[in-house]
C-alpha cells in the first residue's frame, strides 16, 4: 500500500540558509503524525513543499503516491491549513466554503449540505452568515479547519493549527482534530508542543535545524519519560558528605547533582521512593524545606529531543 505522504531526501535552501537537509520520513495511511521541532526547525518549510507553496531544492515528495510537482492531482484528497491563512474578510463562512466546495468538485446540489456538516463539525454553524473578518482568531481558525474538511479529505496537513489561540481555543482545536480520526485518514500536524503531539498523534517526527532527529511511535517516546524523573530538594541545613554518599546509593537513583550547599537534585531510573527520600533527609537531621519534580516530564523530554545543548554544532 502506498503511503499517505512520502518525503525522500528532501533538501530546501533559501540562498545560503539550508532550512531542510536530506529529510526522509513517511506518514502511513491512517496514521496521525506530529511534526515536532522548535522555532525555525523547518516545519513550515516541509509542509509548504508538500503543499506546493515552494519547490524543493532536491529530493522528492509524494502524496498518495503522486509526485507533488503534479500539484493539482497530489492535493486532490488533501485538506490543508498552512501558515495561518486568512479567509476573505468580507466573506461569510458559507461563502468561503461555497468557493472551496466548487473548486474541489463538491457537486452544486451537495454544497449546502456539506457546508452544514463541516461547520457543525467545527462548531461554527451559528456564525455561518457573519463576515469572517469580524471573527476572533479562534473562530477564524475553525473556519479554516472547516475549509480543509470540505472535500472530506483522506489526508490533513496542518501547520501549527493552535498557534495564537488561548488555552480553551487550543483545547477545542485539538479535540476537533482528535475527533476526525478514522481508519483511512492521515494527519500531518506541525507543532512545537509535545503535549499536543501526545494528545492528538500516534507517531512523531522530530526535526531540528532542518535535520531529522527521530521518527517513531509516540507511546515509545513517552515511555522514556516515565522512567526518568528528577527531583530537586532544598534542605534547612547544609548537606554532609555522609548524606551524599547515602543518597547515591538510594534505590533507583541514577545520578545526583549538588546545586549548592543545601540544594541537590537526584535523577531516578525507576519508580522514585519519595517517602524514603524524606526519611533519609530526616535520618541525617538536615530538615526538608522543599521537594519538587524538575520541569514537567514532557518539557524535559522535549528539551532533550530538540537539544538546547548545542554540542553537536561544534563539530
Amino acid at each position: 500500500m502506498t503511503n499517505a505522504i512520502d518525503v525522500t531526501s528532501l533538501t530546501k535552501s533559501f540562498g545560503n540558509l539550508t532550512a531542510l537537509s536530506e529529510v526522509t520520513m513517511a506518514v502511513r495511511k491512517g496514521e496521525y503524525m506530529g511534526l515536532l521541532g522548535p522555532n525555525g526547525a523547518g516545519k513550515s518549510t516541509m509542509l509548504k513543499v508538500i503543499t506546493g507553496m515552494i519547490m524543493p531544492t532536491s529530493g522528492t515528495v509524494s502524496v498518495n503516491g503522486i509526485d507533488c510537482r503534479d500539484h493539482r492531482r497530489a492535493m486532490e484528497t488533501v485538506g490543508c491549513v498552512i501558515e495561518t491563512p486568512e479567509c476573505y474578510p468580507n466573506f461569510t463562512p458559507v461563502e468561503v466554503l461555497d468557493y472551496i466546495g466548487r473548486i474541489r468538485g463538491v457537486p452544486g446540489n451537495q454544497i449546502s449540505a456539506r457546508t452544514r456538516e463541516v461547520l457543525e463539525e467545527v462548531r461554527m454553524w451559528e456564525w455561518r452568515n457573519k463576515p469572517v473578518g469580524k471573527f476572533s482568531k479562534g473562530m477564524k481558525q475553525r473556519v479554516t479547519l472547516a475549509q480543509a474538511l470540505m472535500p472530506d479529505p483522506d489526508i490533513l496537513i496542518m501547520d501549527e493549527p493552535t498557534s495564537g489561540l488561548d488555552p480553551r481555543g487550543m483545547m477545542e482545536v485539538r479535540e476537533i482534530l482528535a475527533g476526525l480520526k478514522r481508519s483511512d485518514r492521515s494527519l500531518l500536524v506541525s507543532t512545537h508542543m509535545l503535549n499536543e503531539v501526545s494528545e492528538v498523534c500516534d507517531s512523531v517526527t522530530v526535526i531540528r535545524k532542518g535535520k531529522l532527529v527521530m521518527s517513531g511511535n509516540v507511546r515509545d517516546l513517552l515511555r522514556r519519560t516515565e522512567k526518568d524523573v528528577t527531583l530537586e530538594v532544598t534542605l534547612r541545613r547544609d548537606m554532609t558528605d555522609d548524606f551524599m554518599k547515602d543518597l547515591k546509593e538510594f534505590e533507583n537513583v541514577s545520578g545526583t547533582e549538588r546545586i549548592n550547599n543545601y540544594t541537590f537534585s537526584a535523577s531516578f531510573a525507576g519508580p522514585e521512593d519519595r517517602e524514603g527520600l524524606v526519611e533519609l533527609v530526616k535520618k541525617h537531621g538536615l530538615g526538608l524545606l522543599t521537594l519538587n519534580q524538575k520541569g514537567s516530564d514532557l518539557e524535559s523530554l522535549y528539551m532533550s529531543l530538540t537539544g538546547e545543548d548545542d554540542t553537536d554544532d561544534i563539530k
Partner: protein
C-alpha cells in the same frame, strides 16, 4: 498510463467522494470568486457612479446653457476622454488583484488547493478584464445615448477611437495585473508611474535632446510618433483621431502594439507567478 496516473486513479476510487472538476470549471470558480470580491467592495459602485456623471453633467449643462449643449461640448470629451479616464481606474487597480492575496495571506488558503497556479492566474485575470472593459463600454454607451438625446453629431472615427481605447485599457489592465502577480505592494503605483509619468519623462528627455543637439524637427516628430505607439498613449491617439487630427500610423498598428504589450505582460506575470515561493 504513468505511475502517477495509476496512483491518482487509485486514490480516487479508494475514496470516491468528490471528483475534481475540469480545469475550465475551476477557472470559472476563481472568476466567480473575484467577481464576488469586487461586488463586496466599493469599486464597481463608485465606477458606475462616475460613469453616471456623463449623463448627469450633460443634463446639468443643458439646463445651465442658453443654446444647445452641442455648441459648448467637444464630442471627443464625452466619447473618448471621460469613458477612458473612468476605465483607467479599474485598469490601474487591477494591480491589486493578486498582490492583495499575498498581502492579506488569503493566498495561503487558495494555493494549496488542487488547482494549478495557471488556473488561478487566468480566472482572476478574466475578472479584472471584465471589470475594466465593461466600465469602458458603459461609459461609451452612455456617451452615445446622450449624443442622441442632445443631437450631438458623432464624428466619423468614433467607432475606431472606441476600439483603440478598448485595446489601450486591455494593455494597461494586463500590465497592472501582471505586476500584481510579482509584487506584494506597489503595483498600482508602478502602473500609474508607467502610464502617466513614463511618457512625460520620455518626452521631456526627447525635448532636451532636441534642444542640445541639432536633430531636425521631423526626426523629433518621428520619434514622438513611435513613443506614442506605446499603449499608455492610446488614449491620446484616440482623442486626436476623434478630433480629426489623424494619426501617424494606421489604427491597426496601435491595436497590434497594445495587444503585444498586454500579452507580453500577461506571459511575464504568469511565468513569475508560477515560480513564486510563498
Amino acid at each position: 498510463m504513468t505511475s502517477n496516473d495509476a496512483a491518482a486513479a487509485d486514490a480516487v476510487t479508494a475514496r470516491g467522494r468528490y471528483e475534481l472538476p475540469p480545469q475550465a470549471g475551476q477557472v470559472m470558480s476563481v472568476y466567480t470568486l473575484q467577481m464576488r470580491l469586487y461586488a463586496k467592495s466599493w469599486t464597481p459602485y463608485l465606477l458606475i457612479l462616475l460613469a453616471a456623471l456623463i449623463p448627469i453633467s450633460m443634463f446639468i449643462l443643458d439646463i445651465l446653457s442658453d443654446g444647445p449643449v452641442s455648441d459648448i461640448l467637444d464630442p471627443e470629451i464625452v466619447f473618448v476622454l471621460l469613458p477612458y479616464m473612468i476605465a483607467l481606474i479599474p485598469a490601474v487597480f487591477a494591480g491589486r488583484v493578486l498582490s492583495s492575496e499575498f498581502k492579506n495571506r488569503t493566498a495561503y488558503l487558495t494555493f494549496p488547493l488542487p488547482v494549478t497556479r495557471t488556473v488561478f492566474f487566468i480566472g482572476k485575470l478574466m475578472a479584472a478584464m471584465t471589470l475594466s472593459l465593461s466600465i469602458m463600454l458603459l461609459g461609451f454607451g452612455l456617451g452615445i445615448v446622450m449624443s442622441d438625446v442632445y443631437g450631438i453629431a458623432l464624428p466619423d472615427d468614433t467607432a475606431m477611437a472606441l476600439m483603440l481605447s478598448l485595446f489601450g485599457i486591455f494593455a494597461i489592465t494586463a500590465m497592472a495585473y501582471a505586476l500584481s502577480a510579482v509584487f506584494k505592494r506597489g503595483s498600482v503605483a508602478a502602473t500609474i508611474a508607467i502610464v502617466i509619468v513614463l511618457p512625460l519623462v520620455l518626452e521631456f528627455i526627447l525635448l532636451i535632446v532636441y534642444l542640445v543637439t541639432n536633430i531636425s524637427e521631423e526626426t523629433l516628430d518621428g520619434i514622438l510618433d513611435i513613443l506614442h505607439i506605446m499603449p499608455v498613449s492610446v488614449g491620446n491617439v484616440a482623442l486626436g483621431m476623434i478630433a480629426g487630427n489623424g494619426s501617424p500610423f494606421a489604427p491597426a498598428a496601435y491595436m497590434i502594439a497594445a495587444t503585444a504589450w498586454g500579452i507580453a505582460f500577461i506571459l511575464l506575470g504568469w511565468f513569475l507567478m508560477n515560480r513564486k515561493e510563498l
